[in-house]
Amino acid sequence: MSTNININVHHVTRVEGHGNIVVNAKDGKIEKCQWQVPEAPRFFEAMVRGRSYQDIQTIVSRICGICSITHSLASTKAVEDALGIEVSEQADKLRILMHYSEQLQSHSLHVGYLVAPDLFNAPSVVPLVAKAPDAVKAIIRVHRVANNWSDLIAGRTTHPVTLIPGGLCKIPTEQQLRDLKKELESSVNVLVAVCEVVQSAAGNLPQFERQTEYISLKQTNPPTYTFYHGDITSNDCNGDGPVNIRNWQKVANEYVSPQSTAKWTQWHRDSYMVGALARFNNNAELLSPLGKKVADMFGLKKGNTNPFMNNVAQLVEMAHVVETSIQMIDDLLTRGLKSETVKVSPRAGRGSGCVEAPRGILFHTYEFDKYGNCVYGNICIPTNQNHANIQKDFEKFVPEFMHLGQDALRHGMEMLVRAYDPCISCSTHFLNVEFV
């Protein structure tokens, strides 16, 4: 078995955005092992300056096509925080419902279209259509349910339009909510079927463990497996948490690491992980029954340290959001939907918004002048927070799996990157990368 390794994956495929893997090893000695991001920078924080508070969502939604609802929600919450706007309970519920649709949309896309081919040894989902047509159709079905769901509540599946500071500019009808509920109910079985298919190939997930810090939101009042409200917490918090989201900079301490090119984030350790596994590790006991059931199917337990299990945690969350949403719809229908008008007047101020993107915790902060025009913006994106952790995983993964040979190692590393569900295009405006 050769111990000379030369991996240079220029643009990992089946991830959002561009990332490279570079590994050089001679005689078993690792000379270089890097995770790099050459995505074209897009300068959103600069571009929001001078724009009206009304347009912030429209602009920053375009940071990422896959988590556009999340960016919209985080920025809208930040605008509301800055301008001191209250949101009604109904709007709050509908927004969470909107947010859940994106969790399902994004997770099903990621697990179904991007990760599943790895598990079934296919280069993409296209050949899978011939190999496992039923499985592909099941995943398409779940994805379609998610998209119809966001179309209904967000106005579009990508780049929502119903979200405005203060509430929503269009709400669904009660009949539409009843129809959605039916659709969600009927998708439960399909979802379970998808889980079973993935379970049948779960053995192909590498056995790899690394202790790290897991950061996510935590909501205690009422206790909720939260994506939208709450404070920032981690498994390492020890008297210094939870942290109010306005102080997110204290958590995402950005620093330049001497042995790497990327700007990393750290809180209690030299790297941390965000995303489904982090949320699971911090909140697992609050999952819905179906969420718990799926976790059990895969033997996923709180405190898991295998990053590949992030994909399983995503399946768990898919089950959780579907089940929870059915209940939320019942709630909304019992109260009856009322049309609400929101009146907003601009004022000077600074505010932050934080929500859980499908791929991890996301922070937005803006400052406005008295006309409501933006003077400052700062955004910290989950994938950015995961880069350091990916690099640290690589450093442990390469020596452990080098014996499998160059091709298997490369494949394993690509899978590892994909396990994080990286959304590189949105993370890059913070990254500093040097080309080899």
Binding site: R42, Y113, N147, G155, T158, K170
Partner: protein, 248 residues
């Protein structure tokens, strides 16, 4: 008949338009029945240099991207710009309103001079290479995408509207935003989206770019009538494809 080979490439963008192709759901199976998708980094590992149709997502922002798009152009028969970033420069063109050095400093601080942060003025694809067709929108409309592709496959010029969003907005029986004294760019923006935003109670913010001959002067003059200002109009007009045509 051999299936046309299609490749999908992305430049500076949010990849939301590619996502709309995925969002065709079941129709994706129909699509791959009639074309061979030979390269699509976001969705598959296969790669190829031989293709008939290239779908380009994203704006051109760096010199190396200009080279890349020229190579793609030289390899394909039909080049389609996919989505606002590609057709009009999209939201990325907002950057052109600022001094580039200042923009880099604003976002990257002292690290602004790292070589990979090199960035130029944002360009739409047609500002660099010849574009055969444009599928507008941020993101593109799945239905429109599907019908353009089908038209091309049977050898027909796809119907890409050159009339304002108001046409489709009226067809969807919406109450005009102006009736609430709110601003909307619908009257000068190209239709094709089914007036999605106004249908959802939101203004048209112009993601599809202007119609070929927008009456910008009229847009400016009607502001007053609705208690709005030219500055309000300007704020909205810069968002997508900033500087694409006549402005106020």
């Amino acid at each position: 008949m051999t299936k046309p080979r299609v490749a999908i490439f992305d430049f500076a963008c949010c990849e939301g338009c590619q996502l709309q192709i995925v969002n065709l759901e079941e129709e994706i199976l129909d699509l791959i029945n009639v074309v061979d998708v030979v390269e699509w980094r976001e969705a598959m590992s296969e790669q190829s240099h031989e293709y008939d149709i290239a779908l380009i997502e994203g704006s051109i922002t760096r010199p190396e991207d200009e080279k890349r798009i020229e190579i793609i152009r030289s390899r394909c028969k039909i080049l389609i710009a996919l989505g606002s970033c590609a057709t009009i420069g999209g939201i990325n063109k907002l950057k052109n309103k600022f001094d580039l050095e200042e923009v880099k400093h604003c976002v990257y601080g002292k690290d602004a001079h790292m070589p990979h942060l090199e960035t130029g003025m944002t360009k739409a694809v047609h500002e660099v290479v010849n574009v055969d067709y444009k599928i507008h929108g941020c993101p593109i409309d799945r239905k429109e995408f599907a019908s353009v592709i089908r038209a091309l496959l049977v050898g027909k010029k796809p119907v890409i509207p050159d009339y304002p969003v108001c046409v489709e907005c009226k067809a969807r029986e919406n109450i005009c935003r102006y009736e609430y004294n709110e601003i909307c760019l619908g009257p000068i923006i190209r239709a094709g989206c089914g007036a999605r935003c106004p249908s959802n109670g939101f203004r048209c913010f112009g993601c599809r770019g202007y119609v070929d001959n927008p009456n910008v002067e009229a847009a400016r003059e009607v502001m007053d009538k609705y208690g709005l200002t030219v500055e309000d109009l300007r704020q909205k007009m810069v968002l997508f494809g900033c500087g694409q045509g006549p402005t106020v």
